[in-house]
C-alpha cells in the first residue's frame, strides 16, 4: 500500500510540474524541433499580416508584445494590430515611376537561433514601407523573439533597425 501511495504522490507531483508538458511532443533533437515549430509560427505570422487576419495575429502575439519600428517608435500589441488591420503600414515598390502596393512579403536572409524554449529569428527586409503616409527608413534588419509558454509559441518582441549599407540590388 505504501508503494501505491508513493506512486500516486509522485504522479500528482509530476502533473503539477509546469515543465512536464514541454517535454511531451518533442522527439529527437529538441533544439531542431523548436526551430521547426518556430519556422511554422513565423510563416503563419507573415500570412496573418498579409491577410490582415486579426484573430491570427491576436493568437501569435503575446499580450505584452513590444514592436520597435526602424524609427525607434514603439507599439503595443493592440496598437500594432490596429496598424496592420487598418492598413496604416503599406509596403510598396516603385515600378516605371509608379507606386505599387506589395502584397507578398519576401523572406530575405532569415536565420533562427535556438535558446531552449526561446527562439530568435533575424531577417533582412529590402521592401519600402509607408507608415501613415510617410516613408519608413529602408532597408532594415530586425529580430523577432519567440517564447514557448504553456506549450504555445508566441512572439514577445520585434526590434528593427535601418541598414546603413544596403545590400547590392536594393532600391
Amino acid at each position: 500500500m505504501n508503494t501505491q501511495r508513493i506512486t500516486i504522490v509522485l504522479l500528482a507531483t509530476a502533473l503539477m510540474n509546469p515543465a512536464a508538458g514541454q517535454v511531451v511532443g518533442q522527439t529527437g533533437n529538441p533544439s531542431q524541433s523548436n526551430k521547426e515549430e518556430v519556422v511554422n509560427v513565423e510563416d503563419a505570422r507573415i500570412r496573418a499580416h498579409q491577410n490582415k487576419d486579426q484573430a491570427g495575429m491576436e493568437r501569435i502575439y503575446a499580450d505584452d508584445l513590444v514592436w520597435t519600428f526602424p524609427t525607434g517608435e514603439r507599439f503595443t500589441k493592440s496598437q500594432f494590430i490596429d496598424i496592420i488591420v487598418n492598413q496604416k503600414l503599406k509596403p510598396f515598390v516603385v515600378s516605371d515611376g509608379k507606386v505599387q502596393a506589395v502584397t507578398t512579403i519576401k523572406q530575405e536572409d532569415r536565420h533562427f537561433y535556438v535558446f531552449g524554449n526561446t527562439v530568435i529569428v533575424t531577417r533582412y527586409a529590402s521592401m519600402k514601407e509607408l507608415f501613415n503616409g510617410k516613408p519608413l527608413p529602408h532597408p532594415r534588419r530586425f529580430f523577432n523573439v519567440y517564447v514557448k509558454e504553456d506549450g504555445r509559441w508566441q512572439l514577445v518582441t520585434h526590434h528593427s533597425a535601418p541598414v546603413a549599407t544596403p545590400q547590392p540590388g536594393d532600391q
Binding site: 526602424p70 524609427t71 525607434g72 517608435e73 535558446f115 534588419r141 529580430f143 514577445v156 535601418p162
Partner: protein, 158 residues
Amino acid sequence: MVHESIVRRTVRLLLLVVTVVATGLGQGPEQDSKSVSKAKEEVLKIEDEANLAVRNRSSSRLDSLFADEMVWLTSRGEILTKAQVLDNIRSGKQTGLSEKTNDKQLHVHGDTVILYATTKTQANAKEERSPKMTTTVFVKEDGLWKIAAHGETVVVPQ
C-alpha cells in the same frame, strides 16, 4: 469487510492527492509573482555587470555574460556575432550597454526576460547623438542568465 477497507484507503489516497494538487495550485500566483520579481532583480544585476564590463573593456567577463549564439543588432542595421562584439569592445569601438538609460521596463516570460530602455550615448558620441531605443533579451542557461540578443535603434525625430 475487506471491500470496505479498500474503499476507505482509496478515499484517503484521493484526499491526499487532492490536497497535494490544491496546495500546489494555491501557491501558483504568489510563487509566480515572487519568481518574476526575482528574475527582474537577477537580470538587472547582470545588466549592471555587463555595463561595467563594457566600460572596463573586460571581454573575459562579457564572454561569460553573452550566450554563445548571441545576436547583436547595431543601430546601423548590422547583425554581429558574439566574437565580433567582443572584438569591438576590446578595441573600444563598441559602447552599447555602457550607455546611461532614461527608463527601463522588464517583461518576464519564464526563463526569458526582455529589457526595454531608452539611452543617450555618453562616449564616442560623434555619430550618434540622438537617443536610442534598446531591446535586450536575457535567457537562463544552466541556471545562469545570459544575454541572447541586443538591438539598438536611433530615434528619428518626428
